[in-house]
């Protein structure tokens, strides 16, 4: 029973409550840094580190944090992890760090992270908080990767900097520019909603058929 719950807390962030496609949170990094798959992965990893770390800390200290100042405390905790992620990236991957630029420090302002602290980590056990953070950031990373892959494949004709097509490929310049981010995100959201609607309709049909059968 308990294991099933834990699995549920993890998987809801990946699909049913996906932070990007369902909650439409964290749009700023989503649109700004997804012009290549590498940038998307690094951004996703940094966000995962920050979210898991701060969810762990907030869940650990939830009984010590006074209600009146909780938001500012969450922000300080998140900012600490963002600083660690920022300097780590600068040391390990200076090139990607330069490309992501201001968007690494801006993870602080990612409403998905603050939202998870307020809505989940501060009310659940450490174990569930960490599982929830892992699920949410995996969902976030998947969404970033989906957007980044589409934009890199169409916009540069490559994936993870590996050319996919011949030299003759005509790049879709718009895809690596800001409008391409909006277009791709909109189309992905459209697709997600369409799949969800189809699934709901299908389940309803099955339920109706079962009622008739009985």
């Amino acid at each position: 029973m308990k294991d099933q719950n834990a699995y549920e807390e993890f998987i809801k962030g990946v699909w049913r409550d996906n932070p990007v496609f369902v909650q439409v949170l964290g749009m700023c990094p989503m649109l700004a840094v997804t012009n290549s798959a590498i940038n998307a992965i690094v951004m996703g990893a940094a966000t995962l580190f920050v979210l898991v770390g701060s969810s762990f800390l907030v869940a650990s200290f939830k009984n010590l944090i006074p209600k009146q100042v909780r938001i500012s405390l969450y922000v300080i905790i998140i900012a600490t992890f963002v600083t660690v992620a920022d300097y780590t990236l600068l040391a390990l991957l200076p090139k990607v760090h330069k490309e992501l630029g201001a968007f690494i420090p801006l993870i602080v302002a990612n409403c998905m992270i603050l939202g998870r602290q307020e809505a989940f980590a501060s009310r659940h056990s450490i174990r569930f908080a960490v599982l929830d953070a892992l699920g949410m950031s995996s969902g976030f990373m998947l969404a970033l990767l989906a957007l980044g892959s589409v934009r890199e494949i169409l916009g540069s004709g490559s994936l993870f900097n590996v050319p996919l097509f011949g030299a003759d490929f005509e790049p879709w310049v718009i895809m690596i520019l800001p409008p391409g981010g909006f277009l791709t995100l909109g189309l992905l959201l459209l697709f997600f909603n369409w799949v969800t609607a189809r699934r709901a309709a299908f389940l309803e049909q099955v339920a109706a058929a079962e009622r008739e059968g009985l």
Partner: protein, 339 residues
Amino acid sequence: MASKDPHLLLQSAPMLRQGLTTPQAMRDVLYALTPIVLAALWFFGLGALLLLLVSVAGAVLTEWVFTPPERRREALADNSAALTGLLLALTLPPALPLWMAFLGAVVAVGLGKVIWGGLGGNLFNPALVGRAFLLGTFPIAMTTWVSPVGPDGFFDLSSSLFALPFHAPAYDAVSSATPLGLMKFQQQGTDISRLLIGNTSGSLGETSGLLLVLGGLYLWLRRDLDWRIPAGIFAAAGLFSLILFLVDGSRFPNPFFTLFSGGLLLGAIYMATDPVTSPVTPRGAWIFGLGIGLLAVLIRMFGGFPEGMMYAILLMNAATPLIDRYTQPRVFGRKERSR
């Protein structure tokens, strides 16, 4: 669609009057475009025909695919998708690869119209949405112009037309700048007579000033377009460029050149007047037209692009709901305007 003069529409007794239907308005526009299409064939040869066909096919196919089966017949019967495809093709350079034209038509109808809920729901002119997408996506192919081949070279097909999908085109024809490009980058004018006839390089349907005006007159006589919009565009563009010309005649073209070059006529007569994306009120139509003329000249003279008509229309399209809101006529009997 019909005249926007309110007192012409007030009727009391039951009168038999065939109103202007959407399919009829679309047919009129298609008739008005016929000479322009023929001119495109005359100047740019068989390649123009292929581009037109591919673009229309792409637009109609997209409308068919994304419309629910029970509404397909009705949605296709009014020819609006075909008209969007045709208008898009008329704004494309003559040597554009066919696959790009197809993609542009898919975006024009898919993102420009269907996604907003079909005809009547779209905020932006669908054909220009397709063109804006193409210009942003393939900036080089969309600004590579070839000179008109004329009737002798009718069957000379540029190999760039047949570039495989997702492949870059290879140009064999000599590229040549449009009159606007010559003006912007080399300060070199073009004869007005050539601009009137259309024997210049440029998009398929924008070169022949005379035929465009003729089609516009036909639409005006048939009451298919609101004359205030093109009049506003011509007035603003003409006046603004006259002022600039008087200030510095060596740097800025004369107003006639401004009016008859590039896509100003095509845009003013056939695209800005789209009843879906232009204001409903007479005063709104004036504001809309004047805004487009001003923006187009502003972009042409001081922007990075040689031509600004497309962005001018799209920008004013975005302002249309606001214009409609602020120019609502006073309700009869009330003192204050009803908001």
